[in-house]
Symmetry: C2
Subunit: 264 residues, 2 copies
């Protein structure tokens, strides 16, 4: 089992921010990444549709032989974790619970959450935060333009700062002390978000928080690779051109290879 | 045949701008509209994937009994028309050729085209324009943020004007005299685009041009409904909530009913 890979999936390139952290923290591990690019985005789709897609993505990765599954997509983490854990006999980590735990651990009492429409409408972050710390006040805002801005490479553009200021104003009016970046695309926009929220705000990156929980789980379950030089294989469900071009900024490195596969 | 409906499909809400024009010009006709919202957007997907989706959408509408098929999606019009015409025994009108014909008919010599990545990368507008008028100079620009801005309801926001100015600057530098709005979402952004291009630019709305060609074809083929009070049925492939909410601005009216169906 220790020699098996870690499986990671997302609807597209966003989950590569989780991959990037995993590569940094776990250089000996093999990673298999699936981006369901033929069916991206999940954020605007219904829970039933997202759950079906998540099960199909997980099925593909499990068939390759993996020891741990990371759902590197907030929308799928918000709606599909129970079904994934039911269906597959391996540890499943979503990005939502680690983000919520990190926000509470950082001492936040008035916590803001930003994410896609799907994530915010699911109310899952609020529930996860209140389960952990019932006295927390939670405020959330859907930010539908953040993903296209990140994918367009406009993360540092004045438009991104203007959009961030507008989306975050209602949360700032609530005097939040902590902001959870509840979408794996959002670490790219951290600069624009930081300008909008000011230097004092605690920003919780759910991608980084998730990678840390993967490290802890592998240690605890004695599943960590003890030797090896690591490596990654990337799979997509549509042609790889756009994934390669846009994904590089998310992964922070060149892709070794990207293979197109058919699932579902 | 005259009593059958006109079938219209798009990946989502964009094609509703074509519907809106059809309802205005052809109040006696029945319309069946399918928005493939479970698989939206098409603009970033590969030609093979888009063609498969288009065939499945057309299959659904043809099974309901239609006399004419309108592909109210530039991306699908750019890549899937030959296969649709091969497969189905009825007239098929895309949005691309009507837009190109209207641009040439308006006397444009230096024509700019804006659209999704998929439409622009397919180079289909350039080819259609050059087939019609080989001496035309064609300049194009992909505008990936226009669709999310229109769907977010930010069409008249200062951000939309800033994005339009930035996307259109390279076309304006080429001294274009005509601009084709090569995406059915873009009529909503006409205000922001008009500010960017100034009052002298000829703007060609491919949705309106397509509706006009439908009118002509129905007349020519003696397929027009001669009596009736019209009516529309709307189908979507994901839950209708978001389609209803966002689509109203595109249709310019309330929906009578929206039904979820499974295709593909």
């Amino acid at each position: 089992m220790q020699h098996q890979a870690i499986g990671v999936f997302d609807s597209g390139v966003g989950g590569l921010t989780v991959c990037r952290e995993l590569i940094r923290l776990l250089p000996k591990e093999q990673l298999l990444y699936l981006g369901d690019t033929a069916r991206v985005p999940y954020g605007t789709k219904s829970p039933a549709t997202v759950t079906q897609y998540a099960l199909e993505s997980a099925e593909f990765l499990c068939a390759q032989g993996i020891k741990l599954l990371v759902v590197a997509c907030n929308t799928a983490s918000a709606v599909a974790l129970p079904q994934l854990r039911d269906r597959f006999n391996l540890p499943v980590i979503g990005v939502l619970e680690p983000g919520a735990r990190a926000a509470v651990a950082s001492g936040g009492h008035r916590i803001g959450v930003v994410g896609t429409e799907g994530t915010i409408n699911s109310d899952s972050y609020r529930q996860a935060l209140l389960n952990l710390a019932p006295d927390t006040a939670v405020f959330s805002a859907a930010c539908p333009l953040f993903v296209p801005l990140a994918e367009e490479g406009w993360a540092d553009h004045s438009v991104a700062r203007q959009v961030a200021a507008e989306y975050l104003a209602p949360l700032l009016a609530e005097k939040i002390d902590t902001l959870v970046l509840g979408c794996t695309h959002y670490p790219l926009l951290e600069g624009a978000i930081r300008v909008a929220v000011g230097p004092g705000m605690k920003l919780v990156d759910s991608a980084a928080a998730t990678a840390l929980e993967v490290v802890e789980l592998l240690e605890r379950a004695e599943l960590a690779a003890e030797e090896g030089t690591g490596g990654q294989r990337f799979f997509v469900t549509d042609v790889p051109t756009r994934f390669r071009r846009i994904g590089m900024g998310f992964l922070g490195a060149e892709f070794q290879s990207v293979e197109q596969v058919h699932i579902g």
